[in-house]
């Protein structure tokens, strides 16, 4: 693999630059979602899974995990709204 430095990058033609841009944007978005999912799973697993009997999620655990995520997102939205309604 050849060295990749800013000098090399600046020599790319426009078509390639825009293709790379699209790729980076897509992958960044995907990576953000993946990071969030892992964080949410970590948080909700701690809250909802208290013992390990087998490798399956039972009904109760499944509901708990699902509610955990959705109430967290509700909280997040509520906080954003609260902050937006603050007098400037």
């Amino acid at each position: 693999m050849s060295d990749l430095d800013l000098n090399t990058l600046s020599k790319l033609d426009e078509t390639t630059k825009s293709e790379l841009n699209t790729f980076i944007q897509q992958e960044t978005a995907r990576a953000k979602v993946q990071t969030s999912v892992t964080q949410f799973t970590d948080m909700c697993f701690k809250k909802c899974i208290t013992s390990v009997q087998d490798g399956n999620l039972n009904r109760e655990e499944e509901n708990c995990v699902s509610n955990c995520l959705n109430r967290f997102l509700d909280t997040n939205i509520k906080i954003v709204n609260l902050l937006q309604s603050l007098p400037k």
């Binding site: 390639t16 970590d42 490798g55 655990e61």
Partner: protein, 107 residues
């Protein structure tokens, strides 16, 4: 991931030009090569970062649920518990991924 020219710079497959729609100017081969190297590099970095985060979360959670009295090696029960715990974690991951993406798309 439809990516213009990606991985097909050398084959002779006819490109879709019959409609007369102008395709973007063909990128020069050196640029294409650099692009492909970058794409490989970036994909690998992202995969490594994701895997690291997952391994850390799995280790922490399953250690807490399965290892109560650390002995000189993992017992059979501890091994089984770690297997089951990992399976549970991945099922939770998939469930959360599905629900989260559904919520994102709802706006």
């Amino acid at each position: 991931m439809g990516f213009l020219g990606f991985g097909s710079s050398n084959d002779n497959a006819p490109s879709i030009t019959s409609t007369g729609t102008p395709t973007p100017a063909a990128a020069d081969p050196r640029s294409q090569q650099i692009k492909n190297e970058l794409i490989t590099k970036v994909s690998q970095e992202i995969a490594t970062a994701n895997a690291t985060a997952l391994v850390n979360a799995l280790t922490e959670n399953c250690y807490k649920l399965c290892i109560f009295k650390p002995a000189s090696s993992l017992s059979a029960e501890e091994n089984k518990c770690i297997d089951d715990c990992s399976a549970k974690f991945m099922r939770s991951w998939n469930l959360i991924s599905k629900s989260y993406i559904t919520r994102i798309n709802q706006g």
